[in-house]
């Protein structure tokens, strides 16, 4: 993802020298000591391009183009498969909450409910994961002694290696019963707020958006934490030392230098996590209960997200028209994820520090 934003930097700094290998590590400000060393390659570079250079350039360009082509083709595939089914849809595809694709001659499907549940689970996940990740990243970069920080960081990264089906089973069988008292307390005390109102599935079974969101939040921790940690580590030492010299406490240092510097990176990391949350499939398929009524806006509702709906129906796909309905849902998810990532990118590119 950093490919596009990183390319201009080395190119701009080393137009003449061409030795990117060294240029990457040296701060761009002090080029003078590099003068004599980089003088040699310049002479050779002007006359001919070495084959190694050409091959490597070809490979990297190829990889870059491949990604774009791949995304384009996936989008095209979704579009081609979805359009015929949208034409057959008997209800409004965007605003209906119905989903019945059993009878290919009478397809009735709308994505509104799926969209709302998808967004609701992801938001619950982010509300949990964002502050915790911020805390972990700050602890690892500012508070923890280096000896502790490294194994700790590994442990957090390892969370990302746990398969999501394990998270799903753990969430349903272990976590859900533990969360039940918390959920019922929230429901009892804050039930007057619509998002904590009574849900449309059994709270005792626990397959609610709340449970799913908590599990999803845990799954997002490593993603948000590792990116945020990297950004916080890049806080200029001069700024931190400056703040300390002015008599700032540890907390004031974080508030005045680390957070302002890393804010955009942190938000971008969260957006990346959100993209992951929107597309998470198998854990949610296992956890979320399907209600018999539509989504009522409470986090104690059940429901199905785009991805979990497609996954649970996939074993019975045997009519192209019904499949098309699910592919349409996939297309909307694709666009939604695209938008989220785009928003994340826009936030980062607004910041000069990361250019």
């Amino acid at each position: 993802m950093s490919e596009s934003s990183a390319t201009p930097t080395p190119a701009g700094a080393s137009v003449d020298s061409g030795n990117t290998g060294v240029g990457g590590r040296v701060p761009s400000a002090d080029t003078t000591p590099e003068g004599p060393i980089s003088a040699q390659p310049v002479t050779g570079n002007k006359t001919k391009v070495r084959p190694g250079d050409r091959i490597f350039r070809g490979l990297t360009t190829g990889s870059g183009v491949l990604v774009v082509v791949l995304i384009g083709l996936i989008g095209l595939f979704l579009l081609v498969q979805a359009i015929p089914s949208i034409g057959l849809d008997q209800v409004n595809f965007l605003t209906s909450r119905e989903w019945s694709t059993n009878d290919p001659a009478n397809l009735r499907f709308g994505i509104l409910d799926l969209l709302l549940v998808t967004v609701a689970t992801s938001v619950v996940a982010l509300v949990i994961a964002m502050p915790v990740s911020l805390g972990i990243a700050l602890f690892l970069t500012q508070y923890a002694p280096p000896k502790l920080a490294r194994p700790f960081a590994y442990a957090v990264d390892l969370l990302a290696a746990v398969p999501s089906i394990i998270f799903g089973l753990w969430g349903l069988y272990v976590l859900a019963p533990q969360l039940a008292p918390i959920a019922s307390w929230l429901n009892d005390t804050l039930g007057f707020i619509p998002i904590f109102a009574d849900g449309n599935v059994s709270s005792e079974i626990g397959g609610t958006i709340f449970t799913a969101g908590v599990v999803l939040g845990i799954m997002l921790l490593p993603i948000i934490t590792s990116l945020t940690r990297e950004v916080f580590q890049r806080t200029p030492v001069a700024q931190i030392e400056g703040a300390l010299a002015l008599g700032a406490t540890r907390w004031e240092v974080i508030r005045t230098t680390v957070l302002p510097f890393g804010k955009a990176g942190y938000i971008s990391a969260s957006m990346l996590g959100l993209g992951r949350a929107l597309g998470e499939t198998i854990a949610l398929t296992i956890i979320l209960l399907a209600p018999s009524t539509t989504f009522g806006g409470s986090i104690f509702d059940g429901g199905a997200t785009f991805a979990s709906k497609i996954a649970s129906a996939s074993s019975e796909f045997n009519d192209p028209r019904s499949v098309g309905a699910y592919i349409t849902a996939g297309l909307v998810l694709f666009l939604l994820t695209f938008l989220v990532n785009f928003a994340g990118r826009a936030i980062v590119s607004g910041k000069k520090e990361y250019r």
Binding site: S100, N102, D157, L172, Y173, A176, P177, V201, S202, E204, I205, G206, G207, T285, I286, L289, A290, P291, S292, G302, A304, S312, A313, S315, E316, F317, N318, D319
Partner: protein, 370 residues
């Protein structure tokens, strides 16, 4: 990031996994000790096409696996490749001539043109639907203090469409005179994914509920109440998680849950191999000759004493004639083994073994394949 270190750790984990996988695998089954339907007397003419290919219903996958095991033992080295891709695909692939026989939750439908397509595939001969695999559906529930729940078709239908909301409803009380039914909400759990089990359950409700079930059948649940959970495993665990829960699920998933007895007018019937066998024996065949299409609606609505009517029947779809001689030989051999030795351990997997009389009917049909 230190990729080398991660790599080494991964390598160790992967190697460990491989070792473990090596140790696993199917234990060799003990010799066929059949209970209800044993007959090593039936001669099996091994040979012919190997391996056989088949495709279709996932509901009978477990049974076909057992059959294939028995087939491999009886006819050394003989194999069957069954691809559990769904009933629709099974019929499609069979009619297209891609597989030697199909597996389906429902018999070939004349309305959809399946019967004529199958006849074409069999070179002008009719295809037969042979109901080889029966899976009872259990009405599983969890209710503290109640262990002998009795329901009938009408009450079940009302529970699953929301007309009855409390466990101490008079309709349930009337069926369970001695039981201490609590004033609790009934938490209906249904399959959220599309499933043949849901389809059969709803067909049963439609046939056996005296008109209380008006929602129709289909692979997705139409009751309009309750919580949907994913797959059989999901509904079984969901119902165990909540006091007052009730669901319908394949028998094998209900082993650790209380299962309701069904009273279809002639006394409460427990779900056992025997009671299911009785129901199968009483099933009426509405197909002609050896085409053993069952009249499930009649079965569901029947009130034969001691028979448990809520069963899911799955068919093997075969050509009556028109196979290559090689293929015909292997299909006959496999189905014969399936109907005899293959029955031995079916009950462990949640299927009902064939009762003797019905087994004979099937064997007659199998022998007639040419």
């Amino acid at each position: 990031m230190n990729f080398k270190r991660h790599g080494a750790a991964l390598g160790i984990v992967a190697a460990g996994a491989l070792l473990l996988a090596g140790c696993g695998g199917d234990p060799t089954p003990p010799g066929g000790s059949a209970n209800s339907a044993s007959s090593s007397s039936t001669p099996v003419d091994c040979g012919g096409k190997n391996p056989l290919s088949a495709e279709g219903s996932s509901a009978q996958k477990g049974a076909i696996d057992l059959f294939a095991q028995a087939y491999g033992q009886k006819c050394a080295g003989a194999q069957v490749n069954y691809n559990a891709s769904g009933s629709g695909n099974g019929v499609k692939q069979f009619n297209g001539g891609q597989v030697d026989f199909g597996g389906s939750d429902s018999a070939l439908s004349a309305d959809k043109g399946e019967v004529s397509a199958a006849a074409e595939r069999c070179k002008g001969n009719p295809a037969w639907n042979l109901p080889m695999v029966f899976g009872p559906i259990a009405i599983a529930y969890k209710l503290d203090g109640v262990s002998n729940l009795v329901l009938n078709g009408e009450t079940t239908a009302k529970i699953f469409n929301g007309s009855i909301k409390k466990w101490n409803d008079p309709a349930i009380k009337a069926l369970n005179s001695g039981a201490n039914l609590p004033d609790k909400d009934i938490q209906v759990v249904f399959r959220s994914d599309e499933s043949g089990t849901t389809d059969n359950f709803q067909k049963y409700l439609a046939a056996a509920s005296n008109g209380a079930w008006t929602q129709g059948a289909g692979k997705s649940f139409h009751g309009g109440v309750g919580n949907g959970a994913e797959k059989s495993n999901g509904v079984a665990s969901a119902v165990q998680a909540v006091d007052g829960g009730i669901t319908y699920v394949e028998w094998s998933y209900a082993k650790n849950i209380s299962v309701a007895k069904l009273d279809n007018g002639s006394g409460a019937v427990e779900l056992t191999s025997d009671s299911v066998g009785k129901a199968i024996d009483n099933a009426k065949v509405k197909g002609e000759g050896n085409d053993l299409v069952l009249d499930l609606d009649a079965l569901y609505a029947s009130n034969t004493p001691g028979a448990y009517p809520l069963i899911l029947a799955t068919y093997e779809i075969v050509c009556s004639k028109g196979y290559e001689p090689d293929t015909a030989k292997a299909v006959k051999a496999f189905l014969t083994v399936a109907a005899t030795d293959g029955q031995a351990r079916l009950a462990d997997k949640g299927y009902a073994p064939l009762p003797k009389a019905f087994q004979d009917k099937l064997l007659t049909a199998i022998q007639a394949i040419a």
